[in-house]
């Protein structure tokens, strides 16, 4: 299965959350690969703590491959190459976790026919090998999003299951922007239909993910004065209504990840060690990530809407 991770804005939590989902699925035994198609800022490697790839690799990454300069893009075996203390000990029963990094100076580029064919070939190949292929796309209606829509519309890819996660933060602007990215005139659905996708099917394959959501009921805010607390609850409720009005409401949401202090400070994977042993991260965050990871392939979460 392919999972495309999109967001209208940068800084939504798309890369960090997607990387955590990939990690959770690999822990559960799936073979997972993560493609950094965030052509503007290929940072996914930093989240997995692999050396030399902190801001994308020098050459031989996905950009170089799509431009036809290498016949296969570089692959990084995360379990083997990570510098993360905990990740280095690969748990028994876990699946492969492979990162295909972007190039450091890649940048956005127009997608020609050859790049598109290479993209299709790569996705077919990875889909043959991995249970889950997560593709992190640049923010907005980027070339990366175009390429994903175009590639999945090709006859050769008809049989490949593809799903879309659209990330946003829990604010007015973010909710509006995310809904626009999906349903707007230049949005994903419209862009997909232009390329031959069936509107209903494509809509049925898109879900929103709310990232870094503050929970007014969380212990984090238990000390705030009552007026403040009431105000937060009201905001939360208003946002729920706004989201529902914009068709980004409950039935279109795959899940939310709470505001997590560790992620606020550092882009990283949340390990069980962080939650259970050192207790720096919250149990709720781990829970949310695990549920979200399970829902990626769960039939009930993906019926047509």
């Amino acid at each position: 299965m392919l999972v495309f991770a999109a967001s209208d804005k940068g800084g939504t939590g798309r890369s960090v959350t997607s990387a955590n989902l990939a990690y959770r699925r690999a822990l559960a035994g799936d073979d997972v690969c993560y493609l950094d198609f965030d052509f503007g800022s290929p940072t996914a490697a930093a989240v997995f703590d692999v050396p030399g790839a902190l801001r994308g690799i020098e050459a031989g990454g996905l950009h170089t491959y799509l431009q036809g300069k290498v016949s296969e893009p570089e692959r990084i075996d995360v379990w083997a190459e990570t510098e993360h203390e905990v990740l280095r000990h690969r748990p028994t029963g876990s699946g492969n976790l492979v990162l295909l990094p972007g190039d450091r100076s890649g940048g956005e580029f127009a997608v020609g026919r050859d790049a598109l064919r290479r993209c299709v070939d790569l996705l077919l190949r990875l889909n043959a090998e991995f249970d889950l292929v997560v593709v992190d796309l640049s923010a907005g209606r980027s070339y990366a999003v175009d390429m994903a829509l175009e590639a999945t519309s090709r006859p050769a890819m008809r049989g490949v299951e593809a799903r879309w996660l659209v990330y946003h933060r829990w604010t007015r602007q973010h909710v509006i922007a995310a809904a626009g990215l999906v349903f707007g005139d230049r949005g994903i659905v419209a862009g997909g239909v232009d390329r031959g996708h069936d509107a209903e099917r494509l809509r049925g394959a898109i879900r929103f993910v709310r990232a870094a959501v503050p929970d007014p009921e969380s212990p984090l805010w238990s000390q705030v004065p009552p007026p403040q607390s009431a105000w937060m609850r009201k905001c939360d409720q208003d946002l729920d209504e706004l989201a529902a009005d914009l068709e980004a409401g409950f039935s279109m949401v795959l899940g939310s990840v709470p505001l997590e202090p560790v992620l606020q400070w550092r882009e990283q994977l949340i390990t069980d060690e962080d939650v259970l042993a050192s207790k720096v991260a919250n149990m709720e965050t781990r829970q949310a990530l695990e549920e979200l990871a399970a829902k990626l392939t769960d039939h009930e979460s993906w019926g047509a809407t």
Partner: protein, 323 residues
């Protein structure tokens, strides 16, 4: 084994074969296989149904004028064509081979293309061919820019076939590709064929070096290597499937689900030597002794059968109590 000191000079044949699961839910019938592998209008797909279904595409040629990789760093320019073909076994396992025969020596000047086109699948060096250096270069793990890359040629063909609309891209299980690089040096005077080395490296790369009598056609050598690669892929894939099924784990249903595709799609494919020219089939016997392909396969098959039998035992009892 041939006598030491034999350098197997004349006209080596070199190739690379890539092997993968065909990406369809059901294996292809003979006629679908024929359609899939019809790479050229002017030549037929070779089909044979005994002892298993085996389809071979016509050769497609790629013109090259480039350096050959060499182990010594010597610069050897060669011109001619590389042949490539796709092979489908039992409508299930797809392979693409790129291969060529290197002439022992060639003209010091580039000839008109017509000269090369009447020698399909032959590369001519400028001057003499340093056979050992080229053999080492072909088998080496890396390629320099500007050197002949057989892997890229076979990959391109494999990828093109995998894009075909006949394929629903819903394979019964996930699996990886393997690559086998091979070089066959030639023997003379009735010396028997032999295997000089067979290595397994990381990333699914295998290399094999052979000695083969010079009267054996390059396509027959390619056929032998495809047969080796096919069985190596089957073993590699089955080992991984058994590992992933986590035999012994509490979840019996998961074990069955993980192993079932092996029974449905892989176990009947084991048929070493089915497609190997008679003169080359003794080479298989060597591999059967060491590393012992069939022995390992049978152990795995037995393990799978035992697991499935174990999982079947509690079922009738549960069914009885459920009544």
């Amino acid at each position: 084994m041939t006598a030491t000191g034999d350098t197997g000079t004349a006209e080596p044949v070199c190739g690379e074969v890539r092997t993968c699961l065909l990406q369809t839910s059901l294996s292809l019938t003979a006629s679908a296989a024929e359609e899939l592998l019809r790479l050229r209008e002017d030549e037929r797909v070779r089909l044979s149904e005994r002892p298993n279904l085996h389809a071979v595409s016509p050769d497609v040629l790629t013109g090259v004028d480039c350096r050959l990789p060499t182990g010594s760093g010597a610069r050897v320019r060669a011109i001619g064509t590389v042949a490539a073909r796709a092979v489908l076994t039992e409508g299930r396992v797809l392979q693409a081979t790129a291969y060529f025969r290197a002439a022992g020596a060639g003209p010091e000047q580039r000839q008109p293309w017509g000269h090369y086109l009447v020698r399909p699948g032959v590369l001519e060096p400028f001057g003499g061919l340093p056979v050992r250096a080229v053999a080492d270069g072909i088998l080496a793990g890396t390629r320099q820019a500007g050197e002949l890359d057989l892997g890229a040629v076979s990959e391109r063909l494999l990828t093109a076939v995998l894009r075909h609309q006949l394929l629903d891209q819903r394979p019964p299980f996930k699996s990886r590709r393997t690559r086998l690089r091979w070089v066959a040096l030639r023997t003379r005077d009735g010396q028997a064929p032999s295997i000089r080395r067979f290595t397994l490296a990381a990333d699914g790369l295998r290399t094999v070096e052979l000695r083969v009598p010079e009267e054996i056609a390059p396509a027959a050598v390619a056929g032998l290597c495809e047969d080796l690669a096919l069985h190596d892929w089957l073993l590699t894939t089955l080992v991984r499937m058994v590992e992933r099924s986590r035999p012994g784990s509490a979840d019996g249903y998961a074990v069955v689900t993980a192993l079932r595709p092996a029974v449905d799609h892989l176990l009947h494919l084991w048929m070493p030597r089915a497609r190997v020219a008679g003169a080359l089939s003794p080479l298989w016997e060597v591999l059967e002794r060491e590393p012992g392909f069939t022995r390992q396969w049978q152990t795995l098959v037995q393990r799978i059968r035992d697991q499935l039998a174990l999982q079947a035992i509690p079922l009738p009892r549960e069914a009885l109590t459920a009544r």
